[in-house]
Amino acid sequence: MLIRSRPQLVGGGNFIFLPLVLIAAAVIPSPVSAEEEEDAEVVEIRAERIPEVSDLPSSLVTVVEAEDMGFGMVTTSMMARAAPAARVREFGGPGQQVTVGLRGAAPHQTRVQIDGVPLPDPIGTGVDLSFLPAAFVERIEVLRGAASIQAGSGALGGVVNLITPSEKLDGFFGRLSAGSYNTWNTSLGTAFQSGRSRFLLVATGLNSSGDFEFMDNRGTQYNPYDDERRVRENNDVLRGGVLFKGATRLGQGAELKLTHQLVGIERGVAGLLGFTAEEARDTAWSDLLDLRARLPISDASLEAGANLLLTGQHFEDPRGELTGVPIDNRQEGRYLEAFSSGMLPLGRSHLLRLRLSYRHSGLRDEKMRDPDRDEVHISTGAEFVVLSGALKIIPAVGVGYVSGTGFQWAPALGAVAEVADRLFLRANLARAYRVPNFSELFLQSGYAVGNTDLEPESAWSADLGIEWAGLENWRFALAGFYARYFDLIVYTSGFRYRPINVGQAEMGGLELEIAGKPIEGLELAGHYTLLLTADRSGRPNREGKKLPGRPTHTAGLRAWLKWKRLLAEADLYFVSSNYVNEANTKELSSRLLLDAGIGIDAGSGMKVMLQVKNLLDDQVNDVRGLPLPGISFFITVGMTRGGRT
């Protein structure tokens, strides 16, 4: 894990902002000089973003690199939980649902993106990280706090941005993991160059029966006699995916990139304990096509692109095991986004940024009467360097128009100061909003009904962080934050389930990160989060209580060692107890997970790793009623041929 600051912005020149249609003209190939041919050798296959308006240099960001997660079987959710403030919740073992929320925000209040493309969450359950293979993720940028200046709606707690692989390999790589619960996870990839273009192709597959054993108390907390050891059934998963990336130089520094990602998953839906299912299945797929162009013009920078995301899901419970009635529900989503953004240096020290995006979201779902929505978002920001470069002030504002909801605004003010050598202070104040999702607005399903009168939720948040990299090979970061949520959309429980804007909440806490290399070959990374939450709905039994599902303490410590040919790694993760209901009358126990692995670097690009996951056999649930696996074992074999270009 690395603790990184934002890219530093330099340069001067003219600023140009063009709508997408003009960009299309700008990326037409032009004759290539010999010098440009040489440049083509270093075209990078990465969806590296230019610094966006929302990526305030003052933002508190944690970058989790896949290569720092060790060599064993890694999941996207393991990467996400390596960042402070990330509350990752597991719903049921390999390939089953995993969600992430930041700084106490719920998963549906946390924006999840892949290469900057927002992933949809039409029914408000949060983006499922298990749908995103780790083989498709080179690193995760976790931007904590209000970040919707760029992101638009949905980033009350922050943004989790998954970045697809960017290794500049000439060759191929492969990895195969196998282990408990008949789990197989494989990935194969190749990268090569052809003329001025580079290509990357990755294919991945996961299979697991997910049939782990667990202790079921059968819903009777006072009765030990009926407790029984059971096997989790209908918990299998089969997932496959292909990622294709291409990039080409167009001359004059212009670059065109294409990403195509296809993922499909078919899995059992085991259900809540007490209401389990043997035949309920969930089949889903997504197809993402992302095209973008970058054009440097003098010292200014311009990027434009479009992406189309198609999704499909088929959920069936033919025997009505989960709810008592058979379900055969199909849902298809279409999400089209076009954007254009640019940076204009203002003199030698200052900078202006602007971003415009349009997004169309459409859903085919009978229960919601096929809703759709259009969003236009404009954001602008500037950077002013003052006090001889010691202080950078960053004002920014985003304005969004969402059909059916109207205008929303997201102002922000940030500051960065280098108060001593390699000692930085960062501060931010921002407002974020989330417009109601389709389910909250339009769902018509039995006693659960939507509410078309809903207003967007909003949150004001502030944070102050200090980052120090004064010691060789070490980095420290400490931040405090506070956020107040307004007009929270809360489902009225009881006879009917209907969302209304009645909730308010406060969140605050501390985030600590440490990463370093104490000795040659050994790397350490740790984080701790103190999260304090308070329900401010004013409702009796809830006012002042902690929000459910939010642990006060979360911590992680990761160590990995490479000594000669020996590889070793350990990962410790702790989540303190947390309540399951708003009245704070029942809670889940704390979890302590320890993974450990040992392996060898056999040379010639080949590595082998043996892993024990959940070595302490801690089977405390992360979500009530959904058991998780205990101790499990995996072996991973991998090979890389070729190297970085």
Binding site: R218, T220, P224, F275, G324, G494, N541, A583, T585
Partner: protein, 355 residues
């Protein structure tokens, strides 16, 4: 998730206490089950409240008083808790079967429990006296299905979705919501008559409106039962109460009470009081004349509903507002003088001690 309190049983219990001269329930006026708090609140004689007196299962739906014990039916944990009402501790707890979703229950002549399983479409017979190591569910009965449910569309029959149950003599009367996969009515509202002793289905009674909710008995020997029928969600505001004669098993009278009638209480003067599931109103009618009284607005906030109510035999009514975690206590018919008591999260059922 609603249910009603077993006031008559409380009455009988109180009478037995009086005979012993030692009121087991001390100074308690009422016991409240909190659906979201998953616990029990106690209302004392001076209207003070003990919150979280005991933790119960998930989504408790009903409290039944049985001798020195209170039985709580917890729907989402498929469990029932047997609570010692002197120590307020759970002394026994039973799982009633995966997928059951126990909804409401009633005591039989043999002091056993019949419980509706709303999700698994069953009626079960439970012995709440057996040790926890033993199986408490004695018998299970599948509810009618398919053509038996008089489907509006023969190719799309609904599920029974049993909800309320009341026992009169050796018979149990079970309301069947008869819903399709989207929880819309798939056929008429029904009441299934079960011979508890023989454990057989006797008869299906068609009701005047779809989606029946609760069922209550009236008369010294249970000559009549009352079935509240709010109709399908979203409610049309034209709810009814069907009155069924237990002597012939037919609907005798239909009372157009309006609103979305849910749980009901019949006081000692023969007045029926009904909670409105579509708002915080108390609906009511005279069980003798059938005359409907004007709704009484009680729960103060939008999207709240009146989850349960009962009177105490001393001229006071206790009514639960689910969304505001409140029990309003007031002279019957005069909510303006209400004492508003804060109880646990989501009060869904109240058992008022009759003295």
């Amino acid at each position: 998730m609603r249910f009603f309190s077993i006031g008559l049983l409380a009455c009988l219990f109180a009478a037995s206490c009086g005979q012993s001269g030692e009121p087991l329930l001390g100074d308690y006026r009422a016991i409240v089950a909190n659906s979201l708090g998953e616990d029990i609140s106690l209302i004392h004689d001076d209207y003070s409240v003990t919150k979280s007196a005991v933790s119960v299962g998930s989504a408790p739906n009903q409290i039944i008083l049985r001798g020195r014990e209170a039985i709580v039916i917890s729907s989402l944990s498929n469990s029932i808790q047997v609570i010692d009402i002197e120590t307020w501790t759970v002394v026994r707890e039973y799982n009633v079967g995966d997928g059951c979703n126990p909804y409401m229950g009633a005591l039989t002549q043999d002091d056993l429990l019949v419980i509706t399983c709303n999700q698994s479409n069953e009626l079960i017979l439970v012995d709440p006296d057996v040790g926890m190591e033993a199986e408490a569910v004695l018998k299970r009965m599948d509810m009618p299905a398919g053509d038996e449910m008089y489907p509006f569309e023969p190719t799309n029959p609904g599920s029974a979705r049993p909800q309320g149950v009341v026992v009169v003599g050796h018979r149990a009367y079970v309301t069947l919501a008869n819903l399709d996969a989207s929880w819309a009515p798939a056929g008429p509202g029904l009441v299934l008559v079960v011979d508890v002793a023989a454990w057989t289905k006797d008869k299906l009674i068609q009701l005047s409106k779809t989606s029946p909710a609760s069922v209550y008995k009236a008369g010294s020997a249970g000559e009549e039962i009352y079935v509240t029928c709010p109709g399908p969600y979203q409610f049309d505001g034209a709810g009814i109460v069907d009155v069924i004669s237990t002597s012939n098993g037919e609907v005798d009278t239909t009372i157009e009470i309006g609103g979305a009638p849910g749980r009901m209480w019949i006081d000692g003067d023969g007045n029926a009081w009904v909670g409105d599931m579509n708002g915080g109103n108390i609906l009511g009618f005279d069980t003798v004349s059938g005359q409907v009284v004007d709704p009484i607005s009680l729960c103060p906030t939008q999207d709240d509903y009146l989850s349960d109510l009962a009177t105490d035999g001393r001229g006071n009514m206790f009514a639960c507002c689910f969304g505001t975690d409140a029990v309003h206590v007031f002279p019957v018919g005069n909510p303006a003088d209400a004492e508003v008591l804060e109880v646990g999260d989501g009060p869904v059922a109240i058992l008022v001690i009759q003295r």
